[in-house]
Amino acid sequence: MSDYLDAFGRALPQLLDGLLITVVLTLGGALLAFVIAIVLGLVARFDNIILRGAARIIIELFRGTSLVVQLFFFFFVLPLPPFYTQLNPIFVGVLALGLNYGAYAAEVVRGSINSVAAGQWEATTALSMTRTQRMWRIIFPQAWALMIPSLNNLLIQLLKGTAVVYTITIVDLTAVFNKLRVETSVYFAYGIALVIYFILAYLLMLFMNGLEKRAVHKLGRQAVSA
């Protein structure tokens, strides 16, 4: 056991680097996914059929093909002719995670906006608000409170999804533990890896729950989920 702890101690600097990479991928991917989700979610509700259709195609394309396919596509295809674009693997990771989970989140955004009570929409018409005012001041704050629980789930899915990036040469947390496995044991290395991922997921969940409480409080209501 003390051998294991020694090996663990030696691996600690790499472990912190790996942790940083996993956090960067998670936060970078989440940020990109969030922007994509808001844009696609709003555009998918437009009256203009061309814009709406384009948003739908993008959403279904990135939802329907697998994350790993997207990751490999950006990583293996872009450097070859005729593209000749070698991207930084971490950037590839953020891009694939952001697009994939952004497409899922866009559906959440669209659905939440649609499920804001009809009376709220009518009230904005009665007050002759502009479309921007209506969305920004009345509809979105209420939709935001509705969408946080689903976004919370997606964020944890995204964190879990980052573990696959070691297959495109990124030395993330999983890659570091793959190395530690060789020096220690399977149970020791992956046991710790799972606990670290669990703690990260738990922290994200606490953060999102706080966000939900705030969003609901701002509307003058009580939070539904704990």
Partner: protein
């Protein structure tokens, strides 16, 4: 001689047989057997959490959340190196089944909660045994409401089968990558892999949406 064209159909036709074979032998097998395990085990987890004594249900709940909130890829690697006597495909099926069971357990829980209280009271009034209450009254109603959500998890599982690359199982995407590496040509294979995923999952999700509307009562 490097092919600099944007698209070459020859690579599509050359890679397709291997990819389709891997699709049937790995992707479909893992999805179908894994879903079967998840559907049954998920119900077991939901029932244990509801009916078992407090300490047991607490432990099961913790394990469930732990599995739900940690990466499938790490679980695959863990079991692959821990269960060396199992074939990688078996490990994959077991890990996918257990991982998704933890998600399906939550779906069942919501389904069971959605059965009106009057139904429970009626079984008491008819002095039904607990076993009969569950089997002939509660579960049939609870499961009906859960079908669409379970279906969505089956589709998610299907799209996560390429994670099997971690345990050296060659699924459709693995076959695509192998072909690409041999021929230094990845465009066609990954596009074809994406299209195959889309062809299989998009109609299924439309079907589930329709089912969801029909079952909503």
């Amino acid at each position: 001689m490097i092919d600099t064209s944007l698209w070459n159909w020859d690579h599509v036709w050359a890679s397709l047989p291997d990819m389709l074979m891997a699709f049937v032998k790995v992707t479909l097998v893992v999805t179908i057997v894994g879903s079967a395990i998840a559907i049954v085990l998920g119900l077991v987890i939901a029932l244990v959490r509801r009916s078992a004594p407090k300490p047991i249900s607490r432990i099961v709940t913790f394990l469930m959340n732990f599995i739900r909130m940690t990466p499938l890829v790490v679980q695959l690697l863990f079991m692959y190196y821990a269960l060396t006597s199992w074939s990688p495909l078996m490990v994959g099926i077991a890990v996918f089944g257990v991982h998704y069971a933890t998600f399906m357990a939550e779906v069942y829980r919501a389904g069971i909660d959605s059965v009106p209280r009057g139904q429970w009271e009626a079984t008491t009034a008819l002095s039904m045994s607990p076993g009969r209450t569950w089997i002939s009254v509660i579960i049939p109603q609870a499961v009906r409401a859960t079908v669409p959500a379970l279906g969505n998890y089956v589709i998610s599982m299907f799209k996560e089968t390429p994670f099997l690359v971690a345990v050296s199982v060659i699924d459709m995407v693995g076959a695509a990558r192998a072909y690409g590496a041999d021929h230094f040509r990845f465009t066609e294979v990954f596009i074809v892999a994406g299209v195959l995923f889309l062809i299989a999952s998009y109609p299924t999700s439309l079907l589930i949406n329709r089912l969801e509307k029909r079952l909503a009562y």
